[in-house]
Symmetry: C3
Subunit: 139 residues, 3 copies
Amino acid sequence: MKIVTSEIRVRSATGPDVVDITPNVEEIVGNSGIETGILQATVLGSTASLTTIEYEPGVIEDLKRAVSRLAPIGVSYEHDQAWGDGNGYSHVQAALLGPSLSLAVRQGCSALGTWQQIVVINHDCKPRERHILITIIGQ
Amino acid sequence: MKIVTSEIRVRSATGPDVVDITPNVEEIVGNSGIETGILQATVLGSTASLTTIEYEPGVIEDLKRAVSRLAPIGVSYEHDQAWGDGNGYSHVQAALLGPSLSLAVRQGCSALGTWQQIVVINHDCKPRERHILITIIGQ
Amino acid sequence: MKIVTSEIRVRSATGPDVVDITPNVEEIVGNSGIETGILQATVLGSTASLTTIEYEPGVIEDLKRAVSRLAPIGVSYEHDQAWGDGNGYSHVQAALLGPSLSLAVRQGCSALGTWQQIVVINHDCKPRERHILITIIGQ
């Protein structure tokens, strides 16, 4: 059994913005030489999250709306009153979705359905470069 | 340290439908010979998710209602207008809950509370057979 | 590659209550001797969850409000009508957030942003001691 690590850096627009990182992840898995195991992805920071979705413009827009309902822009946040950051909603959205994602690795690829992509969501109130750490363990 | 893999296939009704897969998972863990480690479960496809809950009919109904509030049936989705699939809500619900679950393995069992079961949720607008990949790493 | 396990026990108030367990986790990672790998945390029981957030009183209050919107106290739950536990909302909140968290381990620490802490959320309708199992795999 072995362990392979890598890092992905992607630009993202003002949140909620959803960026497809599947090609980046698949390249890392392909280069790892690991056929069977698990892949763990961690996005650094408290205003971003990771999940999977069909990366199709319509449903991405639907996801943004649902995420915005969880913690809407334009209502009062204690965080903003204390710090004036203006990104109280960003922290809450990111905490609800979570900063990490694990997937099975099979036949040298991460296990995904046909219409399923790995995405990072920037929830912050400004554009951010997001850093995702990839760890693959297997054989 | 070693790695053991397996796959679970279960039938599910029109979403949101919640299926208990704890017996299936426990059988795999028991057969793996792994006493201490982690268990990773990945459900394939972008209209399903994994979590844990007390598998009791009342609270399962409560969970379905809460999931349906996150992305209700019967409102307009961009996904449906573009593709006519009618399952825009399914994609959004699944992305918010996430396609994977990890648990500690201790004393040859997955670590769960007394009233806690592992469930797959089918969010799709039709019955689906759902495939869950299980990976156990440990010793 | 090696595996190190430990357990954290923390007291928590009536839910939703959010407790910072970052110092506990970092001590375990530091003592593990593992520089590179993954950390898996599992909270036992069906009325608790794990995530990360900036542990700042304002945004913790914002998170509690958002969690309470997902499954409010004071509405009718099937679980409560069947069992009279009064914690239907606790089960639903915990199932939506999930009982586990994985993070990358790098340079002997769990990978977190500058303003990002690991938290356990007690969703139960009474104070609870929560047990979190930690598993670290790496080298």
